[in-house]
Amino acid sequence: MNGVLLYAIQEDIVNFSKPKVDYLKLAEYCASQIDKHMSLPVSLITNTSYTSKKFDKIINVNLHSRQTKKIAGQQIVWLNFDRCKCWDLTPYKNTLVMDTDFIIKNSSLCSVFDSGKDLLINKSYTDVNSRKDKTVERLAEHGIDMYWATVFYFNKNPKTKIFFNLVEHIQNNWSYYRMLYSIGNRKFRNDFAFSIAIHMLNGYTTSDWPCPLPDPLVSSFDNDTVFDLDIVQGDFLTSTRGLNTHIMNKVALTELLHD
């Protein structure tokens, strides 16, 4: 069976205050876009007691660790530690995992389920303003290639199990691997852990495994302004109409979806 898996891990809402990044709201919108363009069942992994009929299944996990991140000048809680468990948690044999800030606007990712591949993930990204940022092309200046865990596809088989086990091992020993791969940023990022795991499984070399997704990772960044879901401003205004788009400014995205 095919399906999409989303994550909405967030801290409990205190005193009914709106979180700066409302992952549940983002997940709801993401699920409605998937339903509209891809007609696939969507499951949600969350640490909250949330219920909704928008999801095929809601899978509860415990919050065990936390870190923060600065987005658009605001410090937000960033809980990204359970991505490596998606192999065990997914209810589907073939799973497309995506961030909730990835806005689906077409059906091109449907073809991953007919690919016959065990893992598909993008190595390159397309900036909305064609900007070149070398720091997101490699893990370090002379480091290995960076893969983007924003969206990826996998099917359940022994090889992908090994892969996700390795990602978990890297996460559990992040200080060591961060030093080994000369990563300046102390924060754990799934993109980094996935890139390291791919490098290790390829025998510490670069190879053609895994293949890219059949969709460009059109991406805007943390400080970009989001006017609506189709218009983003980095250096200048850009329309992303009809293109699946990764909007990293989750704070602006949350505000937009709450309005």
Partner: protein, 109 residues
């Protein structure tokens, strides 16, 4: 501001936005040309289509030089042609739509 300079700057803004939107369309086209078939990954272009029109063998090397056995060559050929047609026509339609607008604001609507 001088009118001539204002017009020039508007044109400059239009060109930058146009080039950027075209770049996004091209990236979409490139990804639309990726096809997975029998466990192989194929990036389609006219050269590839011509090479599979009259194949010498039923083993085709994919983009990563992995040999892939094609059981039904006719189906493979038609899949590739249809995918390439879809990708090219989508690119063309989007490009024509883009060219309709002569100012940066129009390109973003």
């Amino acid at each position: 501001m001088d009118t001539k300079l204002k017009t020039a700057l508007e044109q400059s803004e239009y060109m930058r936005t146009f080039q950027n939107q075209k770049h996004l369309l091209k990236e979409k086209f490139k990804k639309d040309c990726i096809v997975y078939y029998n466990g192989g990954m194929f990036v389609i272009d006219l050269k590839f289509i011509n090479s599979i029109k009259n194949p010498v063998t039923d083993i085709i090397l994919d983009t990563n030089d992995i040999p892939v056995k094609i059981n039904n060559m006719q189906d493979f050929y038609e899949t590739m042609v249809n995918k390439f047609r879809f990708a090219t026509e989508s690119y063309y339609d989007a490009y024509v739509e883009l060219c309709k607008y002569k100012d940066a604001k129009g390109l973003l609507t």
